[in-house]
């Protein structure tokens, strides 16, 4: 069974929370341009991957339209 946290551990955890909150207060989130660019880039990669995984409609149609192979033996 885990030991309950000691006074020192609780104090350090409290300090950690305060330091993170204090830093966030002093440095609010700045420009997120890089994040937006990355989301777009990732989205485009996914779209590209989806496009490549599907057969091209024109190719599929052409394949359907192709006449049967001539019988070589004939």
């Amino acid at each position: 069974m885990p030991q309950p946290p000691t006074e020192a551990e609780l104090a350090l955890e409290k300090l950690g929370q305060r330091l993170r909150a204090g830093f966030a207060k002093q440095h609010p989130a700045q420009s997120l341009d890089k994040v937006r660019d990355a989301v777009r880039e990732q989205y485009e990669q996914e779209q590209e991957a989806t496009r490549q995984s599907k057969p091209k409609p024109d190719v599929a149609k052409d394949q359907q339209r192709q006449p049967p192979e001539p019988d070589v033996d004939r």
Binding site: T6, A8, L12, L19, G22, F23, K25, E41
Partner: protein, 185 residues
Amino acid sequence: MDDLLKLVRTYRQTAGLAERLRLAEDIFRQIEPHLRFFVFKALHTSSADDVLQEVLKAVAMSLGKFNGDTLPAFWAWCYRIARNKLADHHRREASDRMQPMSHDELAELIEASAQDAPLSHQDKHDLEYAMKLLTRSKPDCYEYLWKHFVFGLAYAEIAEQQNLSYDNVRMRIGRCLEEAKSLVA
């Protein structure tokens, strides 16, 4: 903070670009200050901002692939990405290492945090004690205590980062804590 996990889950299931951009904005407004803190405390140079941008980009690129289902798992995942980027940077710039924060610098952050959540007498007492524990620790112990209590990294995370076993990290942090207590007493 529970909202954060909901946002991440929704992001994972969202296909449209406009909606993803909106969700990413909400997610990164919450996580950017924490990742900034992580990076800026690990580096002490002007390159910290460049590394932070690399971290944000890497998190954004992989956000749809995060498949954990708890907030600690999400933070561990974010910090792992940040740590990898920091490691890349350290390989390039071997001298660019974390510097311990002074008592005054710590006190300044605590003061800033009190703007939203005022400090009780008990808080002040506890925080003063914790600052002494931290600032009087030897450098290697300072780093372990900082990672575990300030960044909130679990033993397992630190173990993975330092290439040590879970028990080894747990015992080292325990020893550092005992040593710090004896130095403060």
